[in-house]
């Protein structure tokens, strides 16, 4: 288990290096001149040239990349061109809210999806099954921004029971919870469908296996057979699915945060890109990539916990 984790960490090093280079090049290819932006629209060409030199932007690309990497390992990501605050502190302030949003979304959506999928599988072919699957398909086919806007309109504007702009504070405060409710509902909803469908087919598959018949032959209650022997084993592919959807989750977070002006990494990234704030954009890309790697690592660990056959050292 520890070994697997270390392996996994080592494997992510080249991925990270790739992300750094790719993020760097992406920003280089983007339109706009950082020196010009720093100097402001009224600056003279001399001033702009001076800034360019200061920033090292007149050097060859490889040298620039080297310098960037060098500062990176020292934890220096430069300063935001817009706010002039260190990128690292901008990122640090935004990571927490995004993590909160993801937790608040997944914590109800994944159990709900698993529950719905299990019930659908057990009642296969009944109207319960058909209803659950219809809801899931609808959930899968609706784009997240649409769900977000409908929830915002309904819960926020029409009923006025929940705020729908910004963040109210940490998750454990009442105001924090109230503010995160609609964004978390939107982001979570896009997950319920896929998880439910995957759980259903996975449980159906496991229910046909020999060891489930053994469980019945032991005289266990049907409830125990389903929960301990069918669902427990069916979770293994479901967890894998959730891992594969990590990108979907991060992408969804970007959209959700932007729609609800929620101060997380997603909104920071969109803002930085739209305002050509290159250092900040680079930083957010790096954080999103790290998030992706981290989610997959958590999934791998869960997988190893769920499936003892995967633990062969």
């Amino acid at each position: 288990m520890i070994n697997a984790l270390v392996n996994r960490l080592l494997l992510s090093v080249p991925v990270l290096i790739g992300v750094v280079i790719f993020g760097f090049l992406l920003i280089k290819m983007a339109p706009g001149d950082p020196a010009q932006i720093m100097a402001g629209p009224t600056a003279t060409p001399e001033v702009v040239a001076q800034i360019r030199q200061q920033m090292g932007l007149d050097q060859p690309l490889l040298v620039q990349l080297g310098r960037y990497a060098e500062r990176l390992v020292q934890g220096d990501l430069g300063r935001s061109l817009i706010s002039n605050r260190p990128v690292v502190s901008e990122l640090a302030a935004a990571v927490g809210p995004t993590v909160e949003l993801m937790i608040a979304s997944l914590i109800w959506a994944v159990p709900l999806g698993i529950g719905m999928g299990t019930i659908a599988a057990v009642r296969r072919g009944s109207w319960v099954d058909r209803t659950i699957m219809a809801i899931s398909v609808a959930g899968v086919s609706l784009p997240i921004f649409f769900i977000a806007l409908v929830l915002m309109q309904f819960l926020g504007v029409t009923l006025q029971i929940l705020p729908f702009m910004g963040r109210g504070g940490p998750l454990w405060t009442v105001d924090g919870l109230r503010h995160i409710a609609i964004p978390a509902l939107s982001l979570g909803l896009i997950f319920v469908g896929p998880v439910a469908r995957m759980t259903r087919s996975s449980v159906l598959e496991v229910l046909r296996l020999d060891h489930v018949r053994t469980a019945r032959a032991k005289g266990l209650t049907e409830r125990r057979v389903i929960l301990r022997h069918a669902l427990r084993n069916a979770l293994i592919p479901v967890v894998t699915l959730i891992g594969l959807q990590a990108g979907y989750l991060l992408g969804g977070a970007v959209v959700t945060e932007t729609i609800f002006s929620y101060p997380g990494i997603g909104r920071l990234a969109v803002g930085a890109i739209l305002s050509s704030d290159f250092p900040l954009a680079q930083g957010t890309i790096l954080v999103l990539a790290l998030g992706f790697i981290l989610i997959n690592m958590i999934v791998d660990m869960l997988y190893a916990i769920l499936d003892p056959r995967a633990q062969k050292s």
Binding site: H211, R213, T214, A215, A217, K218, G219, T221, I236
Partner: protein, 328 residues
């Protein structure tokens, strides 16, 4: 004689949708006395597993369906027992070992957890006591260093070891009836012999009756008191093991015996009976074996022969019985 432990009376189990049903088990009668071993023999697809699952009332429904008959166990009809009562019997008074040792244990739990679950489903043993008992059981079925292996996962065991664990589990609550559905088919030959020996020695110690399902008459000869030969969902011949081997009466039984592999002539086992089992949904007029039978005459193709006694304890369902000379 008192009532038998298990008596299956005219059992019919069908598969399919309500419109297109076919019987996989088509009116069979079997009896098994306390502490005895009854062998159920027949080729693949003749309904052996369905019969054994029916005794546990575990035929998957749908597509399965109990269409008729009774399964009397200790004076009660299992087919009409409330589910909660039936659950107490499963793994309690009736234990079962399956055909597929590699896949019959849950891969995500240790042996200890799975054994404990079996014990605790039928008693209020503490975790501690259940674990001790589980180690005892593993020791009883001959798993080496059981106190250590108990925390292993199934994938860490060989097929034979897994089958031993299955047997330990089936016997955990001292059942009076053990159903063993081809317990050795999936194992290699030397392991087969060990498992059969194990079953026999455990039977001597515990007095459990065994319903032993197999397609191997060699296994029957070594382990069973009585034999029922099944063909196409029906019992075609029934006799004490000695009588059956001394004087087989049904052409199918005779064919099976000729097909028992001998060390000097390791031929293809079933090649001696030409043709194959007709599917359960095929035309059901006449004797099901008629199309493959070297002795078939017109009446065989027109009418089903009843299972009729031809000696003490020996019955056969064949229009040509008693057969004087062996035609194999």
């Amino acid at each position: 004689m008192t009532q038998p432990l298990l008596s299956i009376e005219n059992l019919v189990v069908e598969f399919g949708t309500p419109r297109h049903r076919f019987p996989a088990v088509n009116g069979i009668d079997l009896t098994l006395e306390k502490g005895r071993t009854l062998g159920l023999v027949g080729e693949s697809g003749c309904g052996k597993s369905v019969t054994s699952l029916a005794v546990m009332r575990l035929v998957p429904q749908p597509p399965g369906h109990y269409a008729g008959g009774r399964i009397m166990f200790e004076g009660r009809d299992l087919l009409s027992l409330p589910e909660a009562e039936m659950r107490k019997l499963r793994g309690g008074r009736i234990g079962m070992v399956f055909q597929e040792p590699m896949t019959s244990l849950n891969p995500v739990y240790t042996l200890g957890v799975q054994l404990r679950e079996m014990l605790q489903a039928h008693s209020d043993l503490s975790d501690r006591a259940a674990r001790d008992r589980a180690i005892e059981l593993l020791d009883m079925v001959g798993l080496p260093s059981p106190a250590k292996r108990i925390d292993d996962y199934p994938h860490q065991l060989s097929g034979g070891q897994r089958q031993r664990v299955m047997i330990a589990m089936a016997l955990a609550n001292d059942p009076v009836l053990l159903i063993a559905d081809e317990p050795t088919t999936a194992l290699d030959v030397t392991v087969q012999a060990q498992i059969l020996e194990l079953l026999q020695s455990l039977q001597e110690r515990t007095g459990t009756a065994i319903l032993l399902i197999t397609h191997d008459l060699g296994v029957v000869a070594e382990t069973c008191d009585e034999v029922a030969v099944m063909y196409g969902g029906k019992v075609v011949e029934r006799a004490p093991t000695g009588a059956l081997f001394a004087d087989p009466q049904h052409p199918y039984t005779i064919g099976l015996m000729a097909a028992v592999p001998r060390l000097d002539a390791p031929a293809d086992r079933l090649a001696t009976i030409p043709g194959s089992v007709p599917p359960p949904w095929a035309n059901r007029k006449g004797c099901r074996f008629a199309s493959r039978c070297p002795l078939a005459i017109d009446v065989c193709r027109a009418e089903q022969p009843p299972l009729a006694a031809i000696g003490t304890d020996h019955s056969v369902a064949c229009w040509r019985a008693p057969i004087e000379e062996i035609a194999a």
